[in-house]
Symmetry: C2
Subunit: 403 residues, 2 copies
């Protein structure tokens, strides 16, 4: 597997674009993205578990019922959620995109992200569609920009991999910075691949993947109403169609996982106001599920997040978060270390503090990527979760988001 350029346009037969259509007041911020496959593609998706769901999710779910899609239309600046006319507007968006592209409205994935509870006027979207479609090209970067909300950096990645002797490509873009917490899809992620795979196997690969990728990311403990992850696979790589388990399916899964984990780390590291990526790796758990619960509890702890911001080796807060996680764990067997590019320092052994150099710990914790390594000595279960530190900037951003 090799990292390549191109994001969602790295796979053959995919075009993208992103422009400013006017939903956002700031004219320099792109707010409308379009991704198109030149041929029909199989499609899969996972959606937020929040009972309050954005209207676009209901429409997308309906459109993907047949496992086929050709385009993604996504605006930022308004979530189109908790609006009485939400579904009608989402349908109108997909209809307008379909008409412009000359495809079926049922083959359009529609998504929105931004403020909840403000009516979304589709007029600027419809007016901008001709120019948006006109400019379609190898512009995954512009699409990645257009879906950003409070993200400080666009997030795009692509890899090449081999299936049945054919070179395939897979790429993805993501937006996600706040209102991010593991409970199925927790952000907007659009993935494209030219690998040939049936819709059921694509869905199987995606559903299995999110358990250890997007479900293990949390920025603030708030599970969004609008988030979804979609994959389009258009078969342009001309590999033998993956229609069951086996080596080819595993190759595809590995490539998908490379994309999702890369995006997870970027989303966490670009969490609202974040200065550091906080990774927690748990091993020695009774099983993987137990390891996941503990890893997530640690990266969700406000007190741990604030300590990491302050580069304070306050490991007691990590023990505390393990203890209240709800997982069954023998706290007298827990070891904890902090690891970063500067090295590692063990701070807790068998559930009790051990002597360590505060200076060394400080140096390690001042890095921008911190891994909290937890060994439970209780089995083979392991998991990794990704979060970020809690900072003044998080409070500033969210104290007055709507204005």
């Amino acid at each position: 597997m090799i990292e390549i350029q191109g994001g969602v346009c790295a796979a053959k037969g995919f075009l993208a674009n992103g422009i400013h259509c006017g939903i956002r007041k700031n004219k320099t911020k792109r707010d409308l993205a379009l991704i198109v496959s030149q041929v029909p593609a199989t499609a899969a998706a996972v959606y937020t578990t929040n009972l309050v769901k954005g209207a676009p999710l209901a429409v997308t779910k309906k459109h993907l019922a047949n496992g086929i899609a050709r385009a993604v239309i996504c605006n930022s600046g308004n979530a189109n959620t908790c609006n009485a006319d939400g579904e009608a507007v989402a349908e109108e968006m997909s209809r307008a995109a379909a008409e412009t592209l000359g495809i079926d409205a049922n083959d359009v994935i529609v998504a929105s992200t931004g403020v909840i509870g403000q009516p979304l006027d589709p007029t600027p979207i419809k007016a901008a569609l001709p120019a948006l479609a006109e400019g379609l090209g190898a512009h995954g970067d512009l699409a990645a920009e257009a879906i950003m909300t409070t993200d400080t950096k666009p997030k795009e990645i692509a890899y090449s991999f081999t299936v049945g002797g054919k070179e395939c490509h897979i790429g993805g873009i993501a937006k996600g910075s706040g209102m991010i917490h593991p409970n199925l899809a927790t952000m907007l992620v659009f993935i494209t691949t030219d690998c040939a795979i049936t819709a059921p196997m694509l869905q199987k690969a995606l559903s299995a993947d999110v358990v250890d990728s997007f479900n293990m990311v949390s920025v603030d403990g708030d599970t969004s109403t609008n988030d979804m992850v979609t994959v389009l696979a258009n078969g342009c790589a001309e590999n033998p169609v993956i229609d069951g388990e086996g080596e080819d399916f595993e190759s595809f899964r590995a490539a998908l996982r490379a994309v999702t984990v890369w995006l997870c780390r970027r989303i966490a590291g670009d969490g609202e106001g974040a200065t550091k990526l906080l990774e927690c790796t748990v091993s020695g758990a009774k099983d993987d599920a137990t390891a996941r619960v503990i890893a997530k509890s640690v990266i969700c702890s406000s007190l741990t997040k604030a300590a990491i911001f302050g580069a304070d080796a306050n490991w007691g807060r990590i023990l505390c978060a393990i203890g209240y996680s709800g997982a069954s764990v023998d706290v007298t067997k827990v070891d904890v270390s902090f690891v970063s590019a500067k090295g590692s320092v063990a701070v807790c052994k068998n559930g009790a503090g051990i002597e360590f150099s505060e200076e060394v710990a400080k140096e390690i914790l001042l890095e921008s990527e911190i891994n909290v390594v937890i060994a439970l000595g209780d089995g083979d279960g392991c998991a990794t979760a990704w979060g970020c530190d809690l900072t003044y900037e998080y409070v500033r951003i969210n104290g007055d988001y709507r204005t």
Copy 2:
């Protein structure tokens, strides 16, 4: 029921004191509290559900096995948790207190609060005990001060009430500002009463009370390792002993609830870095349990807390928190209003936004006590939860707590 002065010394037969013994470097900060009943008292307690438990909790639990206690010794500045010698030190603290007071060590409740994972040297505590005991008097205020950690204000309250024609008194002190999240007792609370009540009925009253009081408070979602709520009832009011359910028991429960709710509101309003008390009242739920889950989800939402800090009527975040709470709720029937001393403003009706004056909403949200009122239109269940806003100051306090 009448609010009275005296805190934990309002009830007859209770004395208290608080001094600086030297656990904290700052000599102006009291760090050791003692509460004593002049006669043996029945006792009840609830403890944190965190699997990582402070050593004092294990010792207190053992001492309260017979339902009798006479004294509380509590230090701040060090939690005596995750230390290999923790229980031995907690036993030593209670033994020293017992010897000084001439009582049985089994009748001592011992508690510690502060940093986790730093060995607690009992020497300064033992050295200070004679002076601490010497100064015992109507000094509930000094005890309230001595148990504070990051609290900005001591928290004490007392009420008088009547049982069987006799005037009884009940008072309490609490410490709690960070690492506060509903899961049984979530802070240190010491309550004293001169009401005569058997140990089993006292425990029954306390266990029932915390479900709707301390279990409904959250500052930061982190469930502490050391928290407990204890009640001592010494019978000095000479009322007919409450040994079963009935009118007298209900009178006692009402008085207990007045103390606990008052302390809950103070703890939430004095949450680390808080500028506002955030109260969430849910009605019309299928049942009380559903209402509790929703009320807690709202006051725990980082995004809602940050919006309240910014006096931003961002009700979409409240709908979002209702949606991911895990409670079964029809989101198309949800009404939301913001209420404060300045009035009230309805912002959401039947799950969708309604027009409201942003100016009026701002004025309401600039107050220091904000109530988010949620009506679900689905039954008779109701609940109230208490939290606080999320501020820059929370991050500052917790970015470097240990130094």
